[in-house]
Subunit: 287 residues, 2 copies
C-alpha cells in the first residue's frame, strides 16, 4: 500500500501543479501552491482506489483525486486562521497566514475551493447525469450540511459551557472530516453509477477511526513527526475521544471500527486490498 | 426594467431561501441567510435576461441566477473581513463578521461559495457538455484567474508604493468585478450553446461603467442611500477612476462605455431592451 500511496501522491501533485501552471504570478498563486505541498493524500488515495474497484483508470479518476486534495487544502488554510483554530504549524511548515498574510490566506483558501470545483468539472467519465451527480455530491459533502457545518460545530463547542458528549462529538466528526472521506471513498461508485452503500459504510468507519487516532496522537504524539502543534485540545479543555473513552477505550474503539470497515469491503474481494491496508494504516500511523 | 428587476429579485430570494431551507439550524445558516439579504441582484438580472435572449425560461435559468448571487454574497462577506477591506456596513446593515463573528463570517462565505456550485449543478438545460461548460466557465470567472485574483491585486495595491495607473486599475476591475458580470451576461449563450461574443463585449463595457459609477458614488454619494461606508478610497489614498480621470472625465468615460454596451446588443434587437435599460441604469443610479 505504501508504494501505491507514493504513486498517488506523485500523480496528484503533478495534477495540482498542472492545474495552477497558468495562474498569474504573485502571492496568491504562491500561497495556493504552498498550501498544496505535502500531506498524506489519503483522500486522493481513496478516490483512486474507489475508482479502480469499478474498472476506472487512474487517468480518469485523477481530476477528482486532485479536486478532493485542493478542497482539503482550502479547509486546512481556513481552519488555521487566527479567527478559527489559530494554528502556526501545519505539515511541518508555517501555516499559510503566518507565511504570507491573513488576507492572502483567506483568498488562497477561497481560490482553492474554486479550483476544486473546476477540477471536478474536468473529469470525462460517464453521462451528464453522472458528472453532475458527482459535483452535487461533492457540494453536499463540503458545504453547510457537511464539512463547513462540522467546523462551525467545532468552533461553537469551544465556547460551550459543557464539553460535548460522545454523541455530539461523533456528529461533529462525521460532518467535519467524515463527509469528505465518504465522498472520496464513494466517488468511484458514483462515477460508475453503482451502489455507494458498502463504500459509505467503509468510509464512515475509517473516518471515525481516523479522528480517534488523531485524538490519540494529540496526546501521545511527537510534534516533529506529526508536523503540527499537539495537546491543543487538552490545553483548550476540549472533549475528545480520548478524554471521553480514555486512551485504552479509544484504542479499542478504533480497532473495532477498522474491523467494521474491513467487513464492509467484502463484496469487492481481493480488489479492495489497498483499501483494507489503508484502514489498518489509519490506526497504526504515528503522524 | 424596474418591474423586471423586482420580479428577478423576488424569484432569486425564493430560490436562495429554498436552497437553504433544509440547512441545519444555527449561527452558520443564519449568517448565510443574512448575507443573502438585499442587494440589487443585477447579476441575477443579467443571467435571466441573457437566458431569455436564447428562448430559455426564468424557471430554467433560476438556479444559475441564484448561484451568481450566492457567489457574490460570499465575495462580499470575505471582502468585508477585518483582514481584507475591514468594512462594518453593507447593504445598510452591519457586515457579517460584525453581526456574528469573524469565524462565522469566514465559514458562511465558504459555504456560500459551495452553495453556488451546488446550485449551478441543479440547472437542467442542455447536454452534458453544456452543463459542465457552465460550471467550468463559472470556476474560471471566480477563481485565481478571475474574481479572487482581482481582490488579491486590490489588496496588494493598498500597500504598493505608487498608486495604480489607469491600465492597472482597469485590469484589477476587470478581474475583481468584471469576470462575474461577464459570466452572468454570457450564461444564456453558454447554456444555449451559442456565440458568447456580443454579450462578452456588452458585459465588459457595463462592468467597467459600473465600477466607475461606484467610484463616483464613493465621492459624491450618500451613505444612507448606498448602505455602505463612503470615501474609503480617498481616505486610503487609493487610485480610482475619479482620482485618475477627474469627476467629469470619469462621467464621460462611463457614458461612452454605456454607448459601446448598447451597440454590442444590436444583434439581439428588441429582445435586448431590458439589457439596454440596465446599461443606462448603471450610470444613472445613486446607490
Amino acid at each position: 500500500m505504501q508504494d501505491r500511496l507514493e504513486d498517488v501522491k506523485a500523480q496528484v501533485q503533478a495534477a495540482l501543479d498542472e492545474a495552477m501552471a497558468g495562474f498569474p504570478p504573485g502571492e496568491l498563486t504562491d500561497a495556493m501552491r504552498y498550501a498544496c505541498i505535502g500531506g498524506k493524500r489519503l483522500r486522493a488515495f481513496l478516490v483512486m482506489e474507489s475508482a479502480r474497484l469499478f474498472g476506472l483508470t487512474d487517468r480518469e479518476a485523477l481530476p477528482v483525486a486532485a479536486a478532493v486534495e485542493a478542497l482539503h487544502a482550502y479547509s486546512l488554510v481556513h481552519d488555521d486562521l487566527p479567527a478559527m483554530d489559530d494554528d502556526d504549524l501545519r505539515r511541518g511548515l508555517p501555516t499559510c497566514h503566518v507565511q504570507w498574510s491573513e488576507a492572502t490566506a483567506i483568498l488562497a483558501g477561497d481560490a482553492l475551493q474554486t479550483l476544486a470545483f473546476g477540477l471536478l468539472s474536468l473529469h470525462q467519465i460517464g453521462t451528464a447525469e453522472v458528472r453532475v451527480a458527482l459535483i452535487r455530491a461533492f457540494s453536499e459533502a463540503v458545504g453547510a450540511r457537511g464539512m463547513v457545518w462540522g467546523q462551525a460545530l467545532d468552533i461553537a463547542a469551544e465556547t460551550a459551557l459543557e464539553p460535548l458528549d460522545i454523541v455530539a462529538i461523533k456528529r461533529l466528526q462525521s460532518a467535519k472530516t467524515g463527509a469528505l472521506i465518504v465522498f472520496s471513498a464513494t466517488s468511484g461508485a458514483i462515477m460508475a453509477g453503482e451502489d455507494t452503500g458498502p463504500l459509505t459504510e467503509y468510509a464512515r468507519n475509517i473516518g471515525l477511526a481516523f479522528q480517534i487516532q488523531d485524538d490519540i496522537l494529540d496526546v501521545i504524539g511527537d510534534e516533529a513527526e506529526t508536523g503540527k502543534r499537539l495537546n491543543k485540545d487538552g490545553a483548550a479543555n476540549k472533549a475528545t475521544f480520548v478524554s471521553l473513552l480514555g486512551l485504552d477505550g479509544a484504542r479499542d474503539k478504533a480497532r473495532k471500527l477498522v474491523r467494521n470497515a474491513e467487513s464492509a469491503l467484502e463484496p469487492y474481494g481481493e480488489a479492495a486490498g489497498n483499501l483494507r491496508d489503508l484502514a489498518r494504516f489509519i490506526i497504526e500511523r504515528d503522524a
